[in-house]
Amino acid sequence: MSGPILLALRLLLAASLYVFLGWAFLSLWRDLKQRGASLASRQSPLLALTSTLASEGVPFQTRLPELTLGRDPACEFPLEHPTISARHARLFFRQGHWWVEDLRSTNGTFLNDEPVSMPVILASQDHLRCGQITLLIEIEDGA
């Protein structure tokens, strides 16, 4: 009879619909996973900060994509100095560059003696001055 043939076709119909959906969602999920993995593996280049405050001269090195400078011990890069605000400036890695942004500090942030009023890009060997502290910026090559 025609019934079983039609039933088989109807099952094929439903199967093709769900294979379409399943394949689409699965490949989207794989995409997401891949993108997540590639983003996770893409590290920000090593940033080294040598402060005039640290007499021993050992640079502070980090691979964090974002860090805050300030007197507050909760900052990723704490600087204990009276001319430094609690949260003084922010360094972040975006679009292949390290940027610096002043967090409305009392004594201001200066990059190579230019005041930082909006986020600007940092380069290796730049001098970043926060209050009376000067930091030497060194960025790992090849990122």
Binding site: I5, L9, R10, L13, L17, F20, W23, F25, R30, D31
Partner: protein, 821 residues
């Protein structure tokens, strides 16, 4: 070559996007071809025979779909490389699905939709050559929107409706081609809003990572003034046209796009308030709105009038159940306008919940991809545009699917890509074209995004709306479905009866009394001995069922008497029960004819039964009617004071004081007579008749006669003896009652002897009784004497007139005919 190894190892999912699109399109084509094949074969499944006319016409639509999609795929590889690979296949699948559903519902509309698809896809392919930055749209935003508004305004003057009549005139028509300008107007409004808001500085942003510049509220409102004006103008036009569904959509779209651009939730709240206020105003002003909202709040109050559409839509969804009836095998045409507004109900009936959920998932895929495109868009204009287009496609889907499911009030909008209509198809595919342009992965990185919450919230809201549709579809199709299908306004049962052979009702020698004739799809019931109609009853889609047709319905329809697995399998395969079973009654057609000709022209009833086993050989009730002419005679039948539809023999209650006093002069009426005159399988509802007020039904009287012939033993009455099952042949049906010692044997024998006829082997008695209103009736009771050697019979005759001689003549002649065959 070792260099190929990584590629070979790479999973199939890491295909480049053009291969992904190709693969998804192939899957969509499998779906469409399977659908078309089922549609071709469906007449065979419906009529359960290979000798049917198969459907081929829709393959033209399939060919157009396949050809145009192949071209579109090629063109997209050439002109839109690196575009989103999911959008085109999902839209293609939806379009093809809708096209074939429309072909299935109406080849005329299917043909038109195929031609529209041809034109629209040609425009779609041409449109791929447009520059992907869409700057021209941005530049000419006012021109575009104004021309859209003008076109829509033209319908106020030149508007027409392809369906004619007094319906809203939303179309501009010429030479058989109609365009509904409010459909493209939607698109133009989205383009305008996106272009305006992207150009406005109200929400100007500085470089990434910085917080929004504070803005004063008055500035915001001032910035929005032009958009408010343009949208208000469009809304006014739509309201003037009574295109209220689209107006609702416009309002929601406006709120959504402004929310996306501003990131301020208060615009959403304002939009919701606006829709509520518009709904309340519309409820007060427009009949259409009142009707729709009333039908939404309580559709069960007026299921045949104001809420006919929505109730029929729910019945269709319930009829589909989990797996559906299969394309071409359901009855979606029972819902009004199934090819446009109610196409979701049609798909849910024929594809079941399984396919309906797939459809909703496809829309969810489109929504998710559309918003991803928006997030990855290289500038604000394209981002707002993509978000607006996605909100339009998803929002309109939710609006109409929710309307079909009674989740939302019904609005007459179309289901994008799926519903019939050239304007709707054009708008949907043009939206898709713009989305594909925006989705191109260009060198430009995504535009800075100050706040991702509006996009998350919008996608959350749209996906939640689709999920709610899915849940409600499941509720109607599976949870409430079985209850809904028993409703009397569900015509599917009556239609199934035209396709499934109903079992015959046979007499004791298997001579047919009532049979179904014709061929599948046109089966008709015929009572071969029409005077038996009060006993056999009728089975009519309009007037319901009565008599044996009602009490034996489950056997005759094939829903009983088969193994449960057979029933389930038949329902799965055909959506119908298996062929009905033949039922054998205890009636004797020859004796019945004799009784009916004797009673013709009189009012009364006659019962002849086998006194030993209670089998009823004759059950006559006069005046009678012809069940074959029911529809022509119905009005006169129900008004006839002689009540021809009424089965007097089984259900009539007549005064019997004189009769019983004749029989039991000392008043020792047997207690068993108080038994309700219940006949199994005849009718469950009977008026009660105790003998306190000395009333009897003709059946009770016949049983009393049988008890007198059988030494006081009253047999259990029996009208239906056996049913012919495919697995076990004739199966005897159980008797409803047990025989009962009604009278003492000596008393019964003495009574029979005292009434014995001189010349024969029978006893008989007549009496005339007077009813409460003074009307006279005649009883005749007779039977074989207890010492009669052959089969023993008993008879009761009732005449609604005073004529003992006639009653005796009729009764005795039947008794003799039965005893001397």
């Amino acid at each position: 070559m070792p260099s190929l190894r990584p590629a070979a190892l790479a999973s199939a999912f890491e295909l480049p996007s053009d291969r992904r699109q190709a693969r998804l399109l192939v899957l969509a084509a499998v779906f469409i071809l399977a659908f078309a094949a089922i549609l071709s074969l469906s007449p065979a499944g419906r009529e359960r025979s290979w000798q049917v006319s198969y459907r081929w016409d829709h393959w033209l639509g399939v060919a157009i779909w396949l050809g145009m999609l192949l071209l579109a795929h090629r063109a997209s590889l050439r002109w839109l490389p690196e575009c989103d690979p999911y959008l085109l296949p999902a839209a293609a699948l939806l379009s093809g699905w809708g096209l074939l559903t429309i072909w299935r519902l109406s080849p005329y509309f299917g043909m038109r939709q195929s031609l529209w698809l041809l034109v629209v896809l040609a425009l779609f392919i041409l449109g791929m050559r447009l520059p992907s930055d869409l700057a021209f749209l941005r530049r000419y935003k006012y021109l575009a929107l104004t021309s859209g508004l003008l076109l829509t305004a033209l319908t106020l003057i030149f508007g027409s409706n392809p369906a004619g009549g007094d319906l809203p005139r939303l179309w501009l028509g010429c030479c058989g081609i109609y365009l509904q300008p409010s459909e493209p107007l939607k698109l133009l409004l989205i383009v305008y809003l996106a272009a305006y808001l992207a150009g406005s500085s109200a929400w100007a942003l500085t470089s990434p990572g910085l917080s929004r510049l504070p803005q004063a509220a008055p500035t915001t409102l001032l910035q929005l003034t032009p958009t408010l004006l343009m949208t208000g103008l469009a809304l006014l036009l739509l309201v003037a046209q009574r295109d209220l569904g689209t107006a609702t959509l416009f309002l929601s779209l406006y709120a959504a796009i402004v929310y996306i651009a501003s990131g301020r939730a208060r615009f959403l709240a304002l939009g919701a308030l606006g829709i509520l206020a518009a709904g309340a105003t519309g409820y007060a002003l427009f009949d259409v709105v009142r009707l729709r909202i009333d039908a939404w709040i309580n559709p069960w109050l007026d299921p045949s009038g104001r809420s006919y559409q929505i109730v029929q839509s729910l019945l269709a969804i319930a009829g589909g159940g989990l797996l559906g009836r299969g394309p071409g095998m359901g009855n979606p045409s029972l819902v009004p306008i199934p090819h446009s507004d109610f196409i979701f109900a049609a798909i849910a009936e024929e594809g079941g919940l399984l396919n309906a959920l797939g459809l909703i998932a496809l829309l969810a895929l489109l929504t998710a991809r559309g918003l991803t495109v928006a997030l990855n868009a290289p500038d604000r204009f394209r981002r707002y545009l993509a978000a607006g287009l996605t909100a339009h496609l998803a929002g309109q889907s939710i609006l109409i699917i929710g309307g079909n499911l009674r989740l939302l009030p019904l609005t007459g909008v179309t289901l994008p890509f799926v519903s019939y209509g050239g304007s709707s198809l054009l708008t949907s595919w043009m939206s898709l074209l713009l989305l594909l342009h925006i989705s191109r992965r260009s060198e430009a990185p995504p535009a800075p995004l100050p706040d991702s919450r509006p996009y998350l919230n919008l996608s959350g809201a749209l996906l939640a709306g689709l999920a709610a549709c899915a849940i409600v579809a499941g509720w109607w199709a599976v949870y409430r479905g079985p209850d809904l299908l028993t409703r009397t306004d569900n015509a599917r049962r009556a239609i199934a009866e035209r396709y499934v052979l109903r079992g015959a009702i046979l007499d004791r020698r298997n001579a047919p009394l009532a049979i179904s004739t014709g061929k599948p799809g046109e089966y008709q019931r015929q009572v071969l001995h029409p005077p038996l109609s009060p006993v056999i009853g009728y089975n009519n889609p309009l007037y319901g069922q009565s008599g044996l047709e009602a009490s034996l319905d489950d056997y005759l329809r094939g829903t009983r008497g088969y193994p449960g697995l057979t029933l389930w399998w038949n329902h799965l395969l055909y959506g119908q029960p298996p062929p009905g079973l033949n039922v054998r009654t205890t009636l004797d057609l020859d004796l019945q004819r004799l009784a009916d000709s004797a009673l013709a022209g009189h009012r009364g009833a006659l019962l002849l039964l086998n006194a030993q086993n209670g089998e009823i050989l004759v059950m006559a009730s006069h005046p009678t009617f012809d069940a074959n002419q029911l529809e022509a005679d119905w009005e006169s039948l129900i008004q006839d004071p002689a009540t021809p539809l009424f089965n007097r023999a089984a259900l009539g209650i007549y005064p019997a004081g004189e009769l019983l006093t004749d029989f039991f002069p000392e008043g020792q009426v047997p207690a068993g007579l108080e038994l309700q005159p219940y006949i199994p399988l005849l009718s469950p509802e009977l008026p009660s008749a105790g003998n306190q007020d000395k009333h009897l039904s003709p059946l009770q009287a016949a049983l009393l006669a049988a008890a007198i012939s059988q030494q006081g033993l009253r047999p259990a009455p029996l009208l239906v003896s056996a049913v012919n099952t495919p697995s076990a042949g004739w199966v005897v049906l159980p008797q409803g009652e047990k025989p009962l010692q009604w009278l003492e044997a000596a008393q019964a024998s003495a009574l029979a002897a005292s009434l014995a006829q001189a010349e024969g082997s029978i006893w008989q008695a007549t009496s005339v009784d007077e009813g409460s209103a003074g009307e006279l009736i005649t009883w005749y009771l007779g039977g074989a004497l207890p010492d009669w050697g052959g089969a023993s019979y008993a008879v009761a005759v009732l005449l609604e007139e005073k004529d003992p001689n006639l009653a005796a003549e009729i009764g005795a002649s039947l008794l003799k005919a039965a005893m001397q065959p």
